[in-house]
């Protein structure tokens, strides 16, 4: 999952970036609204965390501009001004949730997780598919009730596919959402992850959860439990 963080306080931004990278997100950050807007136009993000008091382009205007561009990834606002006028204005301009400063980093992670799930259409923290269930808060996979160990990258690939079920996801898109831009984008590595995931999810090759669409990418095809 690729995140955009726009926060002008260097230390705070660094803390957020570090904490979220430690939680296996791919994180881009900028210190002012204009750069934030530029980044939102250049890259495809899964969510953004935006401070309301930003230099150059304030948070509210940045959110409005992002929404005006037609981008609908969830946005979490950070605000030091703990008043409802700002909160309501932020939510009204297109943000999805707010966190008031100072905050516990765990709260940010939980809110972000909920926003990402909600954006993918899941109402619970656990993504349930026939026989497969991925707990996004504990980052655990269960196959037929049995817990299965995943590496950090395997988890990221699976989470992204499950959040976009029945959609064809190109290798480029996957790479972009899973790796930092300067990371080696060898598609062979991705193929290795997919192969290992298939073995872990479907050791008996009965479910065939991930299709390979030749020349286009991958598709997660297991029906969801509602």
């Amino acid at each position: 999952m690729r995140l955009l963080i726009v926060e002008d306080e260097d230390l705070l931004r660094a803390q957020l970036v570090k904490a979220l990278e430690d939680t296996d997100y791919v994180v881009d950050s900028s210190s002012d609204g204009e750069t934030g807007l530029y980044q939102s136009r250049e890259y495809d993000y899964d969510a953004a965390i935006i401070d309301l008091g930003l230099p150059k382009l304030n948070g509210i205007d940045l959110i409005k501009a992002i929404r005006a561009d037609g981008m609908n990834f969830p946005i979490l606002i950070l605000t030091a001004r703990d008043n409802w006028t700002d909160k309501v204005e932020g939510l009204d301009s297109g943000a999805d949730d707010y966190v008031v400063k100072p905050f516990q980093i765990e709260e940010i992670k939980a809110r972000l997780n909920a926003l990402l799930r909600r954006a993918a259409g899941f109402s619970k923290p656990t993504l349930d598919f026939a026989g497969l269930s991925l707990d996004t808060s504990a980052k655990r996979l269960r196959v037929d009730g049995e817990e299965v160990e995943l590496t950090a990258y395997e988890y990221k690939v699976l989470e992204y596919l499950m959040m976009n079920p029945d959609k064809v996801i190109s290798k480029t898109e996957l790479t972009e959402h899973l790796y930092d831009q300067d990371y080696d984008r060898d598609s062979n590595v991705l193929e290795v992850f997919i192969r290992r995931l298939r073995q872990k999810l479907d050791p008996n090759e009965t479910l065939k959860p991930i299709d390979t669409i030749r020349g286009q990418g991958y598709r997660f095809n297991v029906p969801a439990n509602q």
Binding site: E9, L11, L12, Q15, L16, A19, G53, A80, R81, D82, N83, W84, T85, D86, K87, V88, L91, D92, D96, D97, Y98, V100, K101, P102, F103, Q104, I105, A114, R118, S123
Partner: protein, 459 residues
């Protein structure tokens, strides 16, 4: 501050009263003077006429043994009995030596001019009352007759009746004209006043529009005398609004500059906790103390900033806030935040309800109360906004656990201190209580029909 005026003391009434007094004084005096002048000129005319009659008598009078013989009276009224014009000739002793045939029935023994002796060439004019002829004007003239070597007084009298009638006629037409003039001037005065006062009326109208929130400044062009007032009022309205927003921005900046470092420290503390040895994690450490103090500091800062930003002044120059759209905006925002709860929301918002105060205060009140409702409800919230008389009534009810009776008292205390509150429902309610109190309103917590907390606010 009320802009309504007591009409008893209105400028218009004052001017009408002053002008009316002036009108009455002027017309009264003018009438009196005109009346006097007319009477005097009538009297002068009568005197002149009588004088001419005396000269006419002098011209034809011929003395004889017994007195005078006047053969040919040109003026016919001298010969007609009780005609109203009478002539006499008196000697120096005051004895009558001749009277005109018209005066045969006239009894004038008591008349004062009979006894007065006039020197030759001396004349007298006056009026007298007679018992049978009413009021009479008289003129007398002293002569010396050399052929008789004696002095005589020639007297001519005339009834005042025709001149009195003339004067009466003049007076009644004078009253008629002046009455008409008074009515005309009064109407003109009213029209002129209305025209002259019109800018003031427009100013009052525009101020009412500002009060009602239809305008945010005085826009009309006013006469020079009022332009200064209207410019200053515009400045006042503008600076009042700017002052409020500047104050709020300053507080916002203060919040930002206090809380961002707090967030950074929080992050550092968090990192430090991650690096604790396993053995340290079991017992209380300095990090716990640090976190505790940070939480306290954060709460004090939040609470005091929120309190400080509430203005608490009912303002007629401010824009009245329409309550229904504001509540819709806040509930829309909260529904987004609490989307997963799937809250059933019942809104009954009277569209014409307004709040006369700072929009941000109402926003804070609505935000805090509604956030609590969303946070603590199970699945349903009811909101009612209505106006009774000039009081705004808000009712927010949820189906949560409600606030225990024993906690209601201290939660509702005015100015319950932020640092003595536990986080959660307390701080939002405490701020709401402060805002309501600062507007002199009333806030109560009850158990509602849905079984949860029901907050009733009257402003």
């Amino acid at each position: 501050m009320s802009l309504q005026t007591n009409s008893q003391y209105s400028l218009q009434s004052r001017l009408v009263l002053a002008f009316s007094i002036l009108l009455i004084l002027f017309l009264g005096l003018a009438g009196f003077v005109l009346d006097r002048v007319f009477k005097e000129s009538v009297a002068a005319a009568v005197e002149e006429r009588l004088q001419l009659q005396i000269y006419a008598l002098l011209g034809v009078a011929e003395p004889d043994r017994d007195g005078f013989f006047i053969p040919d009276l040109e003026e016919l009224r001298f010969s007609q009995i009780n005609s109203g014009l009478y002539g006499f000739i008196l000697n120096t002793r005051g004895e009558e030596v001749w009277r005109s045939p018209s005066a045969i029935n006239l009894d004038l023994d008591e008349a004062s001019f009979m006894r007065r002796r006039l020197d030759p060439g001396q004349s007298e004019f006056g009026t007298m009352e007679s018992s049978d002829q009413g009021r009479l004007s008289f003129a007398s003239y002293g002569t010396y007759w050399s052929s008789l070597d004696a002095g005589f007084s020639f007297v001519v009298m005339e009834s005042s009746e025709p001149t009195t009638a003339e004067i009466r006629e003049f007076q009644s037409s004078l009253y008629l004209w002046f009455g008409g003039l008074a009515i005309l001037l009064s109407i003109a005065q009213l029209l002129l006043l209305r025209w002259g006062m019109n800018p003031l009326k427009q100013l009052a109208g525009e101020l009412s529009s500002i009060e009602a929130g239809e305008k945010d400044r005085l826009e009309l062009e006013y006469p020079r005398e009022l332009q200064g007032v209207s410019n200053n009022l515009n400045l006042l309205v503008k600076s009042e609004r700017e002052r409020q927003s500047r104050y709020r921005t300053t507080l916002g900046d203060l919040a930002h500059s206090l809380k961002t470092p707090l967030a950074v420290i929080g992050g550092i503390v968090h990192q430090a906790r991650l690096h604790l040895d396993e053995s340290d994690k079991e017992r209380p450490t300095r990090i716990d103390e640090l976190e505790e103090q940070m939480a306290r500091m954060n709460q004090i800062v939040s609470y005091q900033l929120k309190r400080a930003s509430s203005s608490g002044t009912t303002s007629y120059l401010g824009v009245p806030v329409r309550v229904a759209p504001l509540f819709e905006k806040v509930t829309d925002a909260l529904e987004k935040v609490y989307r997963e709860k799937g809250v059933r929301l019942l809104r009954s918002l009277e569209s014409n309800s307004v709040f006369r105060g700072e929009e941000s205060d109402l926003m804070e009140l609505a935000g805090n109360l509604l956030d609590n409702a969303f946070k603590y409800c199970k699945s349903e919230i009811r909101i009612r906004v209505s106006t009774k008389g000039d009081r705004l009534q808000l009712e927010i009810e949820d189906d949560g656990k409600g606030i225990p009776k024993e906690d209601r008292g201290w939660v509702m205390q005015r100015g319950a201190r932020g640092d003595t509150l536990n986080s959660g429902q307390g701080i939002g309610l405490a701020v709401s209580v402060d805002i309501v109190n600062s507007y002199g309103g009333d806030i109560r917590v009850d158990t509602g029909e849905l079984g949860g907390a029901c907050i009733r606010v009257t402003l």
